[in-house]
């Protein structure tokens, strides 16, 4: 009979409102458990979340860097490039041959920079223009500052070698097409087309580079091998399998896989800690609410028996403590959410200077609030079971007289 339950809802609500001091006490004691729990989870979710975001967004965490030098040809690199787990790969020439001296008209100093071979979809140049020819370069932020140049400026590069007992120097005019983000490369560097790095190596080895008109011995590029490469996997989760695959080929690599593991382990461990605290808190709350509801049924025995006397059924009387428990759950959850919102706002303000603008240190998603509500309702219902059972056993005849 649903309309009878509606009447019980009305009566339970009136009683709850009439004893508002008692109700407020329950609500506050629930919020005192639930609020800190939400803040704790918000902190865990916010901190670990932003660490994971940083891990995922920072391409350096996807880098697999070979240690030492090997001999890799273009075909081998090409074959790796086709693997799904690999986002970007480009061969490197010998590091010692991959430097270039740069001079601009707007700065007096000549600086020597490392050349980093790049190509389409270089994760370090995500939003930058990629050099398309021998004469286009992207400077690292530091190098651009030293040279006092901006995108579009022309600068001059020069290479020197000892060839047949003589010191030689060649010059090449370069166009700065973009400047990399400071985090992409922290030293003096220039992202260039692979061809320019190869040209520099050839020149230093005494070979001719016809495309740039540099003289030397015959060009013998057909059998070129590279000692190293730059490799970025598609996601942080591909780092471990790719390093393993390379390890099987005898290529030792260094990665940040350990850092990734640390964050993932921390996430797992913090979750365990959180749930331990949450279970203890909810358990304690359930017990104390259950005891109070039980005592409430005893205290209101007379009133409940009057309700039985005027015709409420056993199954309907049970709703009385259950509904009041549900009221406590809902209002307690609302209060806890309010506490959470206030505290998380303050925490985020305090830490705003240490965080990137988009990150918040204390953060919950809407469905976290929903889960908190469902858990609270569940605990409140469990708490009301004994009280409901006790209420159901009240005899209507008890209402007729004082006992």
């Amino acid at each position: 009979m649903p309309h009878r339950v509606k009447d019980i809802l009305w009566l339970a609500g009136r009683d709850y409102r009439n004893e508002w001091q008692m109700s407020a006490f329950f609500i506050v004691s629930l919020a005192a458990v639930l609020g800190p729990m939400m803040i704790l989870y918000g902190l865990k979710f916010g901190i670990v979340g932003s660490m994971l975001t940083n891990l995922i967004e920072d391409p350096r965490n996807r880098e697999v860097r070979p240690i030492g030098s090997g001999r890799y040809d273009s075909a081998w690199v090409e074959q790796l490039r086709n693997r799904e787990e690999i986002d970007f790969i480009v061969p490197r020439t010998r590091a010692i041959a991959a430097t270039i001296d740069l001079k601009s008209e707007t700065a007096s100093r000549i600086i020597s920079v490392e050349m980093i071979p790049t190509g389409q979809a270089d994760p370090l140049l995500k939003t930058q223009t990629i050099p398309q020819s021998l004469q286009q370069i992207v400077l690292s932020n530091k190098a651009a500052q030293k040279l006092n140049v901006k995108p579009g400026d022309e600068i001059s590069g020069s290479l020197s070698r000892r060839f047949k007992g003589r010191s030689e120097r060649v010059h090449i005019s370069l166009q700065v097409i973009d400047i990399a983000k400071p985090a992409s490369f922290t030293r003096d560097g220039a992202f260039t087309d692979l061809l320019l790095v190869e040209a520099a190596e050839d020149f230093r080895d005494g070979r001719a580079v016809s495309a740039l008109g540099w003289s030397g011995t015959a060009e013998g590029n057909d059998k070129r091998t590279y000692p190293s490469f730059r490799l970025y996997t598609s996601s942080i989760y591909d780092v471990a399998p790719i390093s393993e695959a390379l390890g099987k080929l005898g290529i030792e690599v260094s990665t940040r896989v350990a850092d990734i593991d640390i964050v993932r382990t921390m996430d797992r461990n913090l979750s365990v800690v959180f749930w331990l605290i949450a279970i203890i808190g909810l358990f304690g709350f359930t017990l104390s609410l259950g005891a109070s509801l039980w005592a409430n049924v005893d205290r209101k025995r007379k009133e409940l028996s009057v309700l039985r006397l005027v015709g409420f059924r056993t199954g309907e009387i049970v709703w009385f403590p259950v509904l009041q428990s549900v009221f406590t759950a809902i209002f307690g959850w609302l209060t806890a959410s309010m506490i959470y919102l206030g505290v998380s706002f303050t925490i985020n303000r305090l830490f705003a200077s240490q965080m990137d603008s988009s990150d918040s240190i204390c953060h919950l998603l809407p469905n976290h609030f929903l889960i908190a509500l469902i858990l609270t309702l569940g605990a409140a219902t469990i708490a009301a079971i004994l009280a409901g059972y006790r209420a159901a056993r009240i005899e209507p005849s008890e209402g007729l007289r004082d006992i």
Binding site: E303, V306, L309, P396, G399, L400, R401
Partner: protein, 261 residues
């Protein structure tokens, strides 16, 4: 609500207007209670209460008044039942209460209570979280009855109209008892059962409220069963006394009350 058709009692005859209709018809109903070596038994060899009758049950406490009232108000299961029929209105089918108890149809007994019976308790039994108006209207609300101004009329008759929007704690004990009477009558039950309704009042107030109560019951043609230990002013109200005799075993092991009427 299931009701079992039973043969019509030859004494009551067919359902003709003006005919005496028995709201309660009990035969060989008893309740035994045992505690700590002493036993108490209430025996009702035969009890007939007609619609519209006003019954008084007078006696000291412990004589079994409450046990009888509980059985008549269908909240206490008799230990033994010959037959127990309840006919709430002229023209209504008699309900076999013994059958409902035997089949443990407690919810149907509850429905019967809600619809047909009004109660006046010793100390009001008002719900402290409802206003006086809501308390009086509670029995009507549970039956989804439309407002027909009876609540206001009752409040006027009982002299509590100015208290209608107050909570019970703001009222005196006597006023609360008036509210309780209002609640017992507001849904126009077939019968009102009152257990010591004026026990907590001073004698003068008790007499005034009792007279008012009986007046209202008369006016609304409601049957009433009233239990009280104070019989002096009850006599003046023209109630029918229910005879009962109590005897105790000399060793005190057994008390038996026999009620009939």
């Amino acid at each position: 609500m299931t009701s079992t058709a039973i043969p019509i009692d030859p004494q009551t005859g067919v359902n003709l207007p003006g005919e005496r209709v028995l709201i309660y018809h009990l035969r060989d109903v008893e309740k035994t209670r045992e505690a700590e070596g002493t036993a108490f038994r209430l025996r009702v060899p035969s009890l007939q209460i007609a619609l519209g009758e006003k019954i008084a049950l007078i006696g000291e406490s412990g004589c079994g008044k409450s046990t009888l009232l509980d059985m008549l108000s269908m909240t206490l299961r008799p230990s033994g039942i010959g037959s127990f029929r309840f006919r709430p209105a002229r023209g209504a089918e008699p309900v076999d209460i013994s059958d409902l108890w035997r089949k443990k149809q407690l919810n149907q007994l509850g429905d019967l209570r809600r619809l047909r019976i009004g109660y006046v308790m010793q100390t009001g039994g008002l719900l402290p979280y409802l206003t006086v108006r809501e308390n009086i209207n509670l029995s009507r609300r549970l039956l989804d009855m439309q407002d027909d101004s009876l609540v206001d009329e009752l409040a006027g008759d009982l002299g509590i109209r100015r208290h209608l929007d107050k909570l019970p704690y703001m009222l005196s004990v006597g006023e609360r008892q008036r509210v309780a009477i209002g609640r017992a009558l507001a849904h126009r039950p077939s019968i009102v059962i009152a257990d010591e309704p004026t026990a907590s009042l001073d004698p003068i107030a008790a007499e005034r409220i009792m007279s008012l109560f009986i007046e209202l019951v008369d006016e609304l043609h409601i049957t009433v069963i009233l239990a009280s230990h104070a019989w002096r002013h009850i006599n003046r109200l023209g109630l029918r006394h229910l005879e009962h005799h109590t005897h105790r075993e000399s060793d005190g092991s057994m008390t038996e009350t026999v009620v009939s009427g």
